[in-house]
């Protein structure tokens, strides 16, 4: 202590005023831009946006501010609730305070400009995965028929279904456009958005399993590539309830190619089904069957693409 001389006293005397001054200054420095400061982004992002681009706000917590300014045209629900970014050839990343999206790490930067506190980057995917067919885009009576196997029934398509939202522990919103089967709104088949295990939005086809047999979604005139890639799961709060496993059976032109099983706790689970000899066909019938040994609390949802 003696060797330190007066240093401890000086430290003790100075600590609080110095820390206080530092903290006070810091409180004026740290704030992020208020919502209104996002407005100039519109005049920068909208002109460079091309249909099919993915627009990402980093950090993600700032995204509502960006959505409020850029709107549905640029920040489309389909893109916000994507299951992966690999299919996108281009992306526009709006970055605040140096934040970057790990999802776009493999993309190459083509251009960048500063807009106030933001950096707007145009990014290019060096190897986008070409999507030949997105099943979510074909949930309509021209391309899809929905049925139940036990008892046998054919579900009717409606554009005026009752829209229902279940709140925190309930169902995702049942859309107005859907196939309606017997048993009530829970047994409709339509496109909605769920929150996965990380509470990220996932756009998917809601297809609750039936008490007996399977719910069958039959897509006609599907162009085939090499494989069917998708994800399956359910709203994470419902998945906590713990119930029976759910199976998605994938058949092409009558041949069962795969059965993907989802257990509670697996979250938004990716699957990849090689099409084998069917690959490359210009038109095929793809049947997706959903079944569970116990259908209670099985708010099943999936997305699938042909690649």
């Amino acid at each position: 202590m003696k060797r330190l001389g007066r240093l401890p006293l000086v430290a003790l005397a100075a600590a609080l005023p110095v820390v206080a001054m530092f903290e006070l200054v810091a409180t004026f420095v740290v704030p992020a831009p208020e919502a209104a400061m996002y407005e100039p982004l519109e005049s920068v992002v909208a002109p460079i946006y091309q249909p099919g681009d993915l627009v990402v706000m980093s950090p993600r917590w700032a995204e509502p501010n960006a959505r409020a300014v850029l709107g549905d045209h640029v920040m489309r629900l389909e893109d916000l609730a994507r299951s992966d970014a690999r299919r996108y050839p281009r992306a526009i990343e709006i970055s605040l305070d140096g934040a970057r999206s790990s999802e776009l790490a493999a993309f190459h930067e083509k251009a960048a400009r500063e807009v106030g506190p933001f950096t707007v980057r145009e990014l290019e995917n060096p190897s986008p995965e070409r999507v030949l067919y997105d099943f979510l885009d074909h949930v309509d009576p021209e391309d899809l028929s929905v049925s139940g196997s036990e008892p046998s029934e054919r579900c009717r398509f409606t554009t005026h279904g009752e829209v229902l939202s279940g709140g925190l522990g309930g169902n995702p919103t049942f859309p107005r456009r859907r196939f309606q089967c017997s048993g009530g709104a829970f047994f409709g088949v339509g496109v909605t958005v769920i929150a996965d295990e990380d509470f990220l939005p996932r756009r998917c086809i809601f297809a609750h399993p039936t008490e007996h047999g399977a719910r069958v979604l039959r897509f006609e005139h599907v162009p085939l590539g090499e494989r069917i890639v998708g994800h399956l799961g359910m709203y994470t709060i419902i998945e906590r309830v713990r119930g029976a496993p759910i199976e998605l059976e994938v058949s092409v032109d009558g041949e069962r190619l795969a059965t993907i099983r989802h257990e509670d706790g697996e979250g938004w689970k990716r699957f990849d089904v090689p099409l084998g000899a069917h690959g490359g066909a210009s038109s095929a019938t793809v049947e997706l069957g959903v079944r569970s040994p116990d259908y209670v609390d099985r708010h099943f949802c999936f997305e699938a693409t042909v690649r």
Binding site: L12, A13, A15, A20, A26, V30, R67, L164, F199
Partner: protein, 579 residues
């Protein structure tokens, strides 16, 4: 409770108790030289100022979810009080007590009774406040102001006026405390009752006779009737008793004389406390043992709600053991933490030195008592099965004791300065430093208002930094109060609003206050709404997505929050029309 005895007045003028002042130099003047009258005047002025500040800043604050439930309970209690006045015999019958006190019987009655009496008297009889909601909040604000004044008194008695003020105002302007101090809830009231009980206990230990042990027992009973954090008070006293006994044993003195006052107070708490809670909580008047067991079981086996930490929502054990410490570091102003750490280290150093020298503990072990209280208040979160859903409020009972360490740390800093620079020995220098030390806390609290639960200190980069780290930015749905101007302006006549996490009675209180148009209808499903509120909380994001699909848009019509971090969004159905 805070009246000074002559002995205390003497100790107040000995305002620097420890090593820092022991030198050959002439003793520096105390941080103030308070007269008893001056001390009382400052205490009263502080109480009045704090209460005024809280009352005048509460109208911008929406109603938290739990407040709504307590409004309902208080209204039921209020009817019982009216019955008690008009027909006492009927009021004391089981049907009447059960009907009133059965509402929200998972929490004790004292504070809800005060809410009810305040509403009956200050609002319905005398129309004191502009908004009825304030009448329910008022008793908790009074207790908050009393707590601040009491912290000041204890801090001032030990460390002088400037230090006492720094300690007390550091507590008030801890942003989360400042937020909770406005609410018709139990968290600040139990922090106050907990502190009052420990304060009375410390008096019991340092005095003779049965007065203070009895007062401690009475206050313990009131604490029991406030919130279940009070169950930890006996552990504080018991641990302090062990510390005193150990110190006596180490000094090779008889143990019993050192601990008999603590033991006597414990007995008083055990005898008086249950009687007080029984008398003041009519729910316990019938089926007493069953209902006490139910009450204990409810809290010991409390269900788990969701809470986010570092981007992950925890909803079942194991809960992160770091939660309480991380959130304390992230939400209590840095200067408060540093001052508190200096004060705590100073106390530990002194206690260790005295123990080595086989001397009695300073001030009867008071600083150790504060440390014990802090540790006991945090102890439940050392278990990974303790719920964490309450954010910082559940260990807020520790903060007044932290504030006393802040006072100690501040005094140590001032004494060190005076040793270095003789010219700074005048009393006003301490007040200048006090202003500097308090400035960040005041700035953070007032800046965060009315987004108190989203307040984070610069240690984690403020609210934006906390959002990037994945720390919770809101719960309880109170932010609805921050968008009433928008709703009043935009929602068409009779329009329907999905109120998300806001409790119905909390929404109704906004309308009763006149803050929200009475024709706007609350609905419980986003699909049946014209406008949808979304209170940003990680585990609730599914509800935002429900709004996207139901309204066919991802574009919020309004986003508000603290420092650019969205805390509440409002979605608008395209067919909603305009006002």
């Amino acid at each position: 409770m805070s009246g000074a005895s002559p002995g205390e007045a003497a100790s107040a003028s000995e305002a620097e108790p420890t090593a820092a002042s022991k030198s050959s130099d002439p003793p520096p003047p105390p941080l103030l030289e308070p007269s008893t009258r001056g001390r009382f005047a400052v205490t009263v002025a502080l109480f009045a100022s704090v209460l005024t500040l809280l009352v005048t800043t509460c109208s911008g604050l929406g109603y938290a979810r739990d407040e709504g439930f307590y409004f309902e309970a208080a209204r039921a209690y209020g009817k019982w009080f009216e019955l008690f006045v008009s027909d006492r015999a009927t009021a004391l019958q089981r049907p009447a007590t059960d009907a009133a006190f059965g509402v929200n019987h998972e929490h004790p009655a004292l504070i809800k009774s005060l809410f009810a009496l305040s509403n009956l008297g200050l609002e319905r009889k005398w129309h004191v406040f502009d908004e009825p909601g304030t009448s329910f909040r008022f008793p908790a604000m009074v207790l908050a102001a009393l707590l601040i004044a009491s912290v000041y008194r204890w801090g001032e008695r030990r460390f002088g006026r400037a230090a006492g003020l720094v300690g007390a105002l550091s507590l008030l302007f801890a942003p989360r405390f400042f937020y909770h101090a406005h609410l018709a809830c139990f968290d600040v009231p139990i922090a106050a009752m907990f502190f009052f009980t420990v304060l009375a206990y410390s008096r019991a230990v340092s005095t003779e006779g049965s007065y203070w042990p009895l007062v401690t027992g009475l206050l313990f009973g009131l604490s029991l009737d406030t919130k279940h954090n009070s169950w930890f008070l006996p552990f504080v006293v018991l641990t302090h008793l062990v510390v005193l006994g150990t110190n006596a044993w180490l000094r090779r003195e008889r143990v019993w004389p050192s601990i008999h006052r603590s033991a006597m107070t414990l007995v008083s708490m055990a005898l008086v406390g249950p009687i007080v809670v029984f008398v003041l909580w009519p729910w316990l008047w019938h089926d007493t043992l069953t209902r006490v067991a139910d009450y204990a079981r409810f809290h010991l086996q409390h269900e788990y709600y969701n809470m986010e930490l570092f981007g992950r929502t925890y909803w079942e054990p194991p809960m992160p053991r770091s939660y309480a410490w991380v959130m304390t570091l992230a939400t209590v102003p840095i200067v408060t933490l540093v001052a508190g750490a200096i004060g705590a280290a100073r106390s530990l150093f002194t206690a260790a030195k005295q123990t080595r020298a086989r001397e009695p503990l300073e001030h009867g072990g008071e600083p150790l008592l504060w440390g014990i209280a802090v540790l006991v208040c945090y102890a439940p979160w050392l278990r990974d099965s303790t719920p964490i859903f309450g954010g910082t409020k559940h260990w807020m009972t520790a903060y007044p004791f932290l504030a006393l360490f802040v006072a100690s740390g501040f005094e140590a800093s001032i004494l060190a300065t005076r040793k270095l620079v003789a010219a700074l020995r005048n009393g006003w220098f301490a007040y200048v430093v006090a202003l500097v030390v308090l400035a960040p806390s005041v700035r953070e609290s007032l800046h965060a208002h009315p987004w108190g639960l989203g307040a984070y200190t610069p240690l984690v980069g403020g609210t934006p930094g906390a959002a990037s780290l994945g720390l919770n930015r809101s719960f309880w749905g109170y932010n609805t109060g921050a968008v009433v101007d928008y709703l009043n302006r935009e929602v068409p006549e009779g329009g329907r609003v999905y109120i998300h996490d806001t409790a119905w009675p909390s929404w109704e209180m906004l309308q009763e206050d006149g803050r929200l148009r009475p024709d706007i209808r609350a609905v419980s499903a986003v699909s049946s709404a014209d406008f949808a509120l979304y209170h940003h909380e990680q585990h609730m994001q599914g509800e935002e997505y429900q709004a996207w699909v139901a309204f066919g848009t991802v574009r919020p019509d309004l986003v508000r929050g603290l420092d650019g971090v969205p805390t509440i969004s409002v979605y608008r159905r395209s067919s909603a029309g305009t006002r």
